[in-house]
Amino acid sequence: MVAAQTLVQAGAGAPPPGADVSIAGVSHAFDLDGRPLPVLDDIDLAIAAGEFVALLGPSGCGKSTLLRLVAGLEQPSQGKIAAAGAEITTPDPSRVVVFQDPTLYPWRTVWRNVALGLEARGLLASRKGRVDDALKTVGLAGFERAFPRQLSGGMAQRAALARALVNDPSVLILDEPLGKLDSLTRIAMQTEIVELWRQRGFTALLVTHDVEEAFFLAQRVIVLSERPARIKAEIVNDLPYPRHRGDPRLAELRGQALAHLGLDASW
């Protein structure tokens, strides 16, 4: 496991450990006092192994629900979701979610929070070193024994990212992970996430309502409609990495996305 990771980090032509995700005809509704509240309407989306896809849409449109379905936390009312060819019915540590709130356990130190996935699967004793590696990767070395309340928002979200990475996910699901951070921390962490994705080769699925973030990070941006969410447009961003925020092409793509969302009056 460690050897494979080193290979990927060295970029020595190892096969990408990412898994492809296929979302086929997925509709979903919530039960709201006995009345169905449709949130997703016939979503079809194929994500290639190792691809970085962003879902962009107005708030409350159901994009986070789609992520919960991909994570296996809920079952779709209709349609099928599969990862690496296998249908998703339960959560699995190969598909880890980083939520908008870090949701670290306040009674655990940072180290033990990051070790959570290994501990839950009974692998902690044999892979203690992975926890230290993950903390180092996200720049939290030295904070092992801190408690979550002692961390800033950005540090807490880094710890949550480390908690995900320790499990070597083949799909990393990012549910507005930077939504509550200040803009400087957000910019720094966007760059870090891209770097991690490029090094490790997992498939990344990001939900965001930050148009700039979507295009800076992703290779493909899916624009969703108001609830119930339908796919309104698909914008491919083939700019090579590392990208530059001032790139005129990014501005152009942002304009396109805003037009789809009906927000281009001020563009």
Binding site: D92, P93, F99, T103, P106, E119, A120, F147, R163
Partner: protein, 339 residues
């Protein structure tokens, strides 16, 4: 030092050593003066003769006051040079002065002037007499009370914890247990005393059951609400990381509920004290409650005060112990309940 270690408080601030601290001297001297005045008044003024029996332990009590005044003087001198003691003395000084006033006036009103009705108010020397003469019986009562309390509280707390986790986790169990909890829980356990003495083979086992019941109720309710109020996102996180059911219960739900559980234990401990004392007064023929009842029956009011003071110290000590346990287990939590 890493940036998040901002735990230093003003109390950790070290003063330069071996330099007499003026504020310690001033406050220590005030406390010493107050207690010297008490010692002088107690020793030099004549006791009023009350009743036929000569009061015992008067000389010993007076010597105790003098010794205490000397001890305070020494503490002042040492504290002025040694900050840890000095800080404690400075903090305690106002209380020491007030206590000196209280004891001085108490002795004046009872031993010296005989102004308070006699059997109900005893002079300080009578309290000394109680501890000196009756300590074996008092000590035995303490041991009996502690044994009863420990058995009842531990059974009740364990049962309450298990019940609370079970109904917090399983809706099916909650359906059956919840109505029972709502019906039986609010009955004061003391109201069940007569019935329990009737049903149980011994008053001792009846008392254990009632103390356990009194503890069980708050521990159950708070454990249950603790488990029920765990942030659902905590479960989502654990599930996506591959956690199974027992991990969700033992590593997520229970640790997250512990702050609530602790409040339940605190409330349960308080309830267990009152049931303990009531049971000892009504049927169990041992323990501090029985001692109180006995002292009252013999109009031995000094013994009653003596037992009450012991009771206050023990119960307060037990709560302090519980909070110390909380601070060890829940160090991550900011203080919610203060003691």
């Amino acid at each position: 030092m890493s940036p998040f270690e901002q735990t230093g408080s003003a109390a950790d601030f070290d003063r330069p050593r071996l330099q007499a601290d003026g504020s310690v001297l001033a406050r220590g001297a005030l406390a010493t003066a107050a207690w010297t005045a008490v010692a002088a008044s107690v020793t030099l003024l004549a006791n009023k003769k009350i009743g036929f029996a000569e009061p015992l332990y008067v000389g010993e009590t007076n010597a105790g006051f003098i010794g205490w005044a000397v001890l305070l003087a020494l503490a002042t001198a040492v504290g002025a040079l040694w900050p840890p003691l000095g800080r404690r003395l400075v903090r305690a000084a106002p209380w020491l002065v007030v206590l000196a006033l209280f004891v001085g006036i108490w002795d004046l009103l009872t031993a010296k002037l005989g102004l308070l009705p006699v059997p109900f108010f005893a002079p300080p020397s009578a309290l000394v007499e109680v501890y000196a003469e009756d300590w074996p019986r008092l000590g035995e009562s303490v041991l009996h009370s502690l044994r009863l309390l420990a058995l009842g509280f531990l059974f009740g707390a364990a049962a309450g914890f298990v019940t609370g986790v079970a109904i917090g986790w399983s809706r099916g169990l909650g359906y059956w247990v919840h109505p029972v909890l709502r019906f039986l829980g609010p009955i004061p356990s003391t109201a069940l005393l007569p019935m329990a003495f009737f049903f149980f083979p011994s008053s001792f086992s009846a008392a254990i059951f009632l103390i356990a019941l009194a503890t069980w109720f708050p521990v159950t309710v708070l454990t249950w609400s603790g488990v029920a109020s765990v942030d659902k996102a905590y479960y989502d996180v654990a599930r996506t990381l591959g956690a199974g059911r027992s991990f969700l219960i033992f590593k997520v739900a229970i640790p997250a509920a512990l702050p609530h559980v602790f409040v339940g234990l605190f409330m349960g401990l308080g309830a267990s004290f009152s049931v303990l004392v009531a049971a000892e007064m009504m049927g169990v023929k041992s323990g501090l409650g029985y001692y109180l009842q006995w002292a009252q029956g013999w109009a031995a009011y000094a013994n009653m005060y003596g037992a009450l003071i012991v009771m206050a110290l023990i119960f307060s000590g037990l709560i302090t112990l519980l909070f110390a346990l909380r601070d060890r287990l829940l160090g991550w939590q900011k203080d919610v309940v203060k003691w």
